[in-house]
């Protein structure tokens, strides 16, 4: 039974009448909460950035007696204009959690014992030296995070790639953003979105696919809501197999069968071409075509779409009626309107993730809905500095700082020169990508691994398969809380300073680089990760090239890596002053940096009009991509599709949000959400415990029926934040052939009643 909003309003109307009758005068509405400025009056307020998602909200941190007592949205930061989400407000509570680790730990006879920093660092140094001597550079790895500060990944990258000669440097953005990177790289020749959040306020049509923006990027969603409120004609189209909170403002929904989105995207191109919505002028001037291996013509591409993606084919695959697919394409391509596509993990975490990214870019390129205010392709990022600290710093096995490649000899020379290291020491071949890196812990090829600021034993797909590997590898985990699923397997745990306990820089989704001042001291013997890394470099015998005395020293060296590149960054002094600066940054650009990339006059590298200068022929590539299905679709034995995702309240493996009592009260456990018809058929009801079984593992979860979202029939949605209910024991580690990003979003399961 549903008690709808209408029923409620009816009830309220009756109640209101009664209120008037029963209480005729003197009653005043009650304020939601009285303001008591003395309660959290701070000694000082420090400008910073939220610790959570890739939105990069500016915050002001209230400090009193050396403690964080309040966090509020920074009204002067153009990203969030003073807004925050619940996670941001509760940030003070993550600082003082009981399981903060404040001393180094060394595992002895299977038990952790407290140790001095010197003892811990000496042990790490000895084990890494032994491994390098006996097994060579590839035997030592680093696994970082989109939550580290820029300087931390920069130093680790330099030590491993420049000094050890190991390209086995990876980070968790491989699990979330790699397909977006490969999409931008292949289509535009350069990583990261060309648009900015400013485009939201110019957009007429939002096409949101594979993103629950309301819960994963709440403040950005609020900006969209606000824009629609002021411009009621704004259309919001949400393509998703699950109806979720973002649908509250949707004008139309496309609830396709999970895993069939390439058919929808291809058929949109079909309708756009057939019904004449293409922008021939833009195509003539700025676009070229490829089949993935060789150049093709516009006519070839049209032929490919005609043969591969008829609306009838897409309808049969996706269950969306042909007329709705046609309407979707018409809404997307409506002449005179500005259209933005927003996407997130539903597109990226797929074995066809790069193809899907390319096909989104295709739609914008053939309609010319790009490089104009409000018209752009905008990939949303999950972590606060996946862009700044990993994509830009080059913290993946194939990258070097400033969007350079390890496989490029000239790039290696350039970087070695800045680093002061021997270019001959650098390996020319990319290292192991994340899933391969962890597989090599299982095979025993990787001997030593340093994990920083992330929790792979919890967050890897098919996680339990990799646990024995983590157990047998010499594992250093620098973390803030202990134990986590990962630090459990550590040989050494290093206590890391958290967020505002150190100075740092984060880079958000819209190319905005933001400085974070240090606000308080870390507890006990906790230190910034970068201190531990520099200490380690000195002990390993590379002190000469790690002479840094301050954050500014590291930043100034990193800055040299970006000078003259398409992602030139701002100076330390400028960053400290500003509320973030968007790259590329040139002297004549104002304090906010570059707005629209590839477009004059915003982009300092473009003289006139639009120029995709990162591509050799200055043209963006439209790719003819074949229809590709997920690695594992439901079948007789495993008849349901499982997809994982977020709720607004929790973040990643809940190491932080799990410390906030109000959040834990709101969402205490992970859950599996079912369509009511599936639940009836399975004979399960709200609150039951079910076991989800895949070819890889099992997890037991409490059942929710059509709340908080409504998955379409055949789809189960599960949150994955809880360590005790390890949903990633079930997910698949099949990866995209190009981006090596795993397909978290789709695997086949069966349901057993417990």
């Amino acid at each position: 039974m549903k008690f709808s909003r209408r029923d409620f309003i009816k009830a309220c109307a009756v109640s209101t009448a009664l209120v008037s009758a029963g209480c005729s005068s003197g009653r005043q509405p009650v304020q939601s909460k009285p303001i008591d400025p003395t309660k959290t009056e701070a000694d000082k307020w420090v400008k910073s950035v939220c610790r959570y998602c890739g939105t990069g909200c500016g915050v002001m941190i209230g400090v009193k007696n050396g403690k964080v007592v309040a966090v509020k949205g920074d009204p002067d930061n153009p990203v969030n204009k003073g807004l925050l989400c619940a996670k941001g407000y509760y940030l003070p509570q993550i600082m003082t959690a009981k399981d903060r680790i404040t001393k180094p730990l060394i595992k002895k006879d299977g038990k952790f014992v407290e140790a001095s920093w010197d003892e811990a660092m000496e042990l790490i140094t000895q084990r890494f030296k032994e491994s390098l001597d006996q097994y060579g550079p590839a035997s030592v790895g680093f696994y970082g995070s989109g939550q580290t500060s820029v300087d931390e990944t920069y130093v680790a990258n330099k030590l491993w790639k420049g000094c050890f000669g190991s390209n086995n440097v990876e980070g968790n953005p491989r699990l979330c953003m790699a397909s977006a990177v490969a999409g931008y790289m292949t289509t535009f020749g350069a990583d990261e979105p060309m648009g900015t959040y400013d485009d939201f306020e110019h957009c007429d049509v939002f096409f949101i696919i594979g993103s629950n923006t309301a819960e994963a990027h709440p403040v950005l969603f609020s900006r969209i809501v606000d824009h629609k409120r002021k411009n009621p004609g704004t259309k919001i189209i949400i393509a998703d197999p699950r109806r979720h909170r973002s649908h509250e403002i949707a004008d139309s929904a496309i609830p396709f069968i999970a895993g069939t989105d390439l058919a929808i995207l291809g058929a949109m191109a079909y309708v756009i071409i057939e019904e004449g919505f293409t922008d021939e002028e833009f195509i003539k001037n700025h676009v070229c075509f490829s089949d993935g291996a060789n150049p093709i013509t516009w006519e070839d591409y049209k032929q490919h779409i005609k043969e591969s993606y008829t609306p009838e084919f897409a309808s049969a695959k996706s269950s969306i009626p042909v007329q709705e697919i046609r309407k979707l394409a018409r809404d997307f391509a409506e002449p005179g309107k500005n259209t933005m596509t927003l996407w997130c993990m539903g597109i990226n975490q797929r074995v066809a993730g790069v193809f899907a990214n390319n096909m989104i870019h295709n739609l914008h390129l053939i309609t010319g809905k790009i490089c104009k205010p409000g018209s752009t392709t905008f990939s949303l990022t999950g972590q606060p500095s996946a862009c700044g600290s990993v994509r830009e710093v080059g913290g993946l096995s194939h990258l070097l700082p400033g969007h350079r490649l390890v496989a490029n000899a000239a790039h290696r020379e350039q970087i070695a020169k800045i680093w002061g290291t021997d270019p001959a020491k650098m390996a020319p071949a990319p290292g192991w990508h994340t899933m391969e890196l962890f597989r090599r812990t299982v095979t025993g090829d990787l001997k030593c691994l340093w994990v920083m600021c992330t929790n792979p034993a919890h967050s890897l797909p098919n996680a339990t398969f990799y646990h024995p590997g983590l157990e047998q590898t010499f594992l250093v985990v620098s973390e803030t809380y202990h134990p986590t699923l990962t630090s459990k397997y550590a040989d050494v745990v290093l206590p890391a300073a958290l967020w505002c306990e150190k100075e740092g820089v984060y880079g958000n989704t819209e190319r905005r680089t933001q400085h974070m001042a240090k606000a308080i001291e870390p507890p006990g013997e906790a230190r910034p990760d970068v201190d531990a890394l520099i200490d380690f470099a000195h002990r390993m015998g590379y002190g000469e090239v790690f002479p840094y005395k301050s954050f500014e020293d590291v930043w100034n060296e990193y800055l040299k890596c970006t000078t003259g590149t398409d992602m030139e960054l701002a100076s330390y002094a400028a960053l400290k002053e500003a509320h973030g600066i968007r790259w590329p940054v040139k002297d004549h650009i104002g304090t906010e940096g570059t707005g629209m990339r590839f477009v004059a006059p915003d982009d300092p590298y473009v003289k006139e009009g639009v120029d995709f200068y990162a591509r050799p022929n200055h043209r963006a590539q439209v790719f003819a991509r074949p229809y590709t299905e997920p690695a594992e679709m439901p079948d007789k034995e495993y008849p349901f599709c499982l997809t994982t995702g977020r709720v607004l309240e929790h973040w990643h493996t809940d190491t932080m949000t799990g410390k906030c009592p109000a959040i834990m009260k709101a969402v205490p456990t992970s859950f599996a959400e079912f369509n009511s018809k599936d639940a009836t058929q399975l004979g399960i009801k709200e609150g039951d415990i079910v076991r989800l079984v895949s070819r890889r593992g099992t997890v037991e979860l409490p059942v929710k029926i059509e709340r908080p979202g409504i998955p379409r029939r055949g789809l189960i949605f599960a949150t994955w934040f809880e360590a005790e209910r390890l949903v990633n024991a079930v997910t698949t580690d099949a990866v995209d052939a190009a981006s090596k990003e795993p397909e978290f979003k789709i695997c086949a399961v069966r349901v057993e009643k417990v």
Binding site: M1, K2, F3, S4, R5, D7, F8, I9, A11, C12, V14, S15, T16, L18, V19, G22, C23, G26, R27, Q28, P29, V30, Q31, S32, K33, P34, I35, D36, P37, K39, T40, A42, V69, A70, K72, P75, G82, L83, L84, C85, A86, Y89, Y90, P92, P218, S222, V225, R229, R245, E248, L648, A662, I663, K665, A666, V667, P668, F671, K704, P708
Partner: protein, 98 residues
């Protein structure tokens, strides 16, 4: 039980809830200043730490502002910032999933 009967029962429950609120609203403390609060004032509110939690189930009540915009229905708390409509961005439920 038919759907209509269930709806009637919930309606009655809401009426009972409001009736109890009327009693407390009529007898309670001094009036609180009213009127729209600008974005500048929001800064002050935010200093006070955490946004108030939602102490009731949401079932069938997706739009918080139906009741909380004016706070005139049964004396429910009135939002100081009705211009923000995505309430659960900041206000978490105390009992959302139980």
């Amino acid at each position: 039980m038919t759907q209509e009967r269930k709806k009637s029962i919930i309606t009655i429950l809401i009426l009972l809830l409001f009736s109890s609120l009327i009693v407390s609203a009529c007898s309670s403390g001094p009036p609180v200043p009213q009127g729209e609060i600008s974005e500048t004032d929001l800064k002050l509110i935010d200093i006070d730490g955490f946004p108030p939690e939602v102490p009731h189930e949401l079932e069938g009540r997706g739009d918080c502002l139906v009741c909380h915009r004016d706070g005139e229905i049964g004396g429910v708390p009135k939002t100081p910032h009705p211009e923000f409509t995505t309430c659960r961005q900041c206000h978490v439920l105390t009992d959302a999933l139980n």
